[in-house]
């Protein structure tokens, strides 16, 4: 069975839904310590104030993210990825998610441009890592390492591991995207603890969670096309899938 909207029955064997987010549902998996992630076509922006559908997004993001997670695993990054189940479904390790969104910025864009009064596109001399507290009711506020550890969201050792992984992932994604003509402006990561207490990359890496600009033209190939009503949203997602699938 397949579907196009993400709203109906899915093919893979799975248990109770454990979480529904803006772009994904997560179910208990067929084995202990596994989850099945189902990607939806639903799109939201500005903390849920803007809602819509990007037709085919769930299929594209599932594919892009899985290619990138397999690539990162081959480079030594521990992730939650286990295997593809269907065009919208992926089997992952069940992790306890650290309630912090980790943003790595190579260039100024989006909220950083607005908060700090800087021009979008300004190249940073080295990547800046930001932590945001995952809390929709509070609007996912920016926090720092001290908040994360003093408020018990992660230990100091976990924060150090997350920082190191985030910067290494940024280097690896840069090596992946540069030959594909894509400037990686910024990206958002989430991490979780596995059953052995290890920190692993979770969530997804896709045009929903990254800013991808064409390296030559600067054209946006990501969710900013939806957020900013730029048109050509589905085409941008399809173009990113095409570039990710190229053997570079």
């Amino acid at each position: 069975m397949t579907e196009t909207t993400g709203a109906g029955v899915q093919g893979a064997d799975k248990g109770q839904m454990v979480y529904e987010g803006k772009a994904k549902r997560v179910y208990e998996g067929p084995q202990p310590d596994t989850y099945v992630v189902v990607y939806k076509d639903d799109a939201t922006a500005f903390n849920g104030e803007k809602r819509g559908t990007i037709v085919g997004k769930g299929v594209i993001n599932n594919r892009i993210s899985n290619i990138l997670f397999r690539y990162l695993e081959t480079k030594g990054i521990p992730t939650h990825y286990l295997k593809d189940l269907s065009e919208r479904e992926t089997l992952v390790r069940a992790l306890t998610i650290v309630p912090v969104e980790v943003v790595v910025r190579n260039r100024v864009a989006g909220s950083m441009a607005k908060r700090l009064g800087l021009p979008e596109g300004q190249v940073l001399p080295y990547p800046v890592v930001e932590f945001y507290y995952k809390n929709d009711a509070l609007g996912d506020p920016l926090v720092n390492e001290g908040h994360v550890t003093a408020l018990g969201w992660a230990s100091r050792a976990e924060v150090a591991a997350i920082q190191t992984l985030a910067l290494r992932i940024g280097e690896l994604l840069g090596q992946f995207f540069t030959p594909r003509g894509v400037a990686l402006v910024d990206f958002k990561l989430e991490f979780g603890r596995d059953s052995a207490g290890g920190i692993r990359l979770a969530d997804e890496i896709s045009p929903d969670t990254c800013r991808f600009w064409d390296a030559t033209s600067g054209e946006k190939l990501d969710k900013d096309r939806f957020r900013r009503d730029l048109g050509g949203v589905e085409e941008a997602y399809a173009e990113m899938l095409r570039r990710v699938e190229v053997q570079a």
Copy 2:
């Protein structure tokens, strides 16, 4: 000559005004590399949205801050303090101010309570240091170490020095205020570079820049009485001066 409002002529010999802030004016001093700071009675809150006068505040803050800066100097903290000039005026070293407000929090209060949805007064397991970009037009946004260094506001070595100094100052202020029956909830510091490139504590430490709670009753003895229209503002400032002047 003396004055009561901070708006008129001042006693000490000084040159051109180089800066006017919400609570102080800064003039060129009588010697090279010196400034004269003049404390005003003007009070503002919420990034200038609320304005008023706290009668006698300039005199009290000048005295409290100078006692604390002399105390910190005896404990090995480099500061801009040179000497008292009059009841509202202090001679300081001319520093190049790092455009970052450094907040050290022992308990949750104010903007941290609001941003993170936490109860005011919650004791933190260890102090949390926050950096805010000094920019009124942007509302002094919270930033992290990465922003401070990547955007060139301070070097990595300077940020490390500032972090270490801020935490040490917190310990020393705790030792000062505990025997005086005052809980130091949080405080804001500013730092600058001297002519030799060293980092020194600048600005002031006063009821304008700290949250002081009576250790027994929890009564607020700081600018929150003005911000929140609690009444007894002048009395709270006078009470803090009394406690700071006690030989504990």
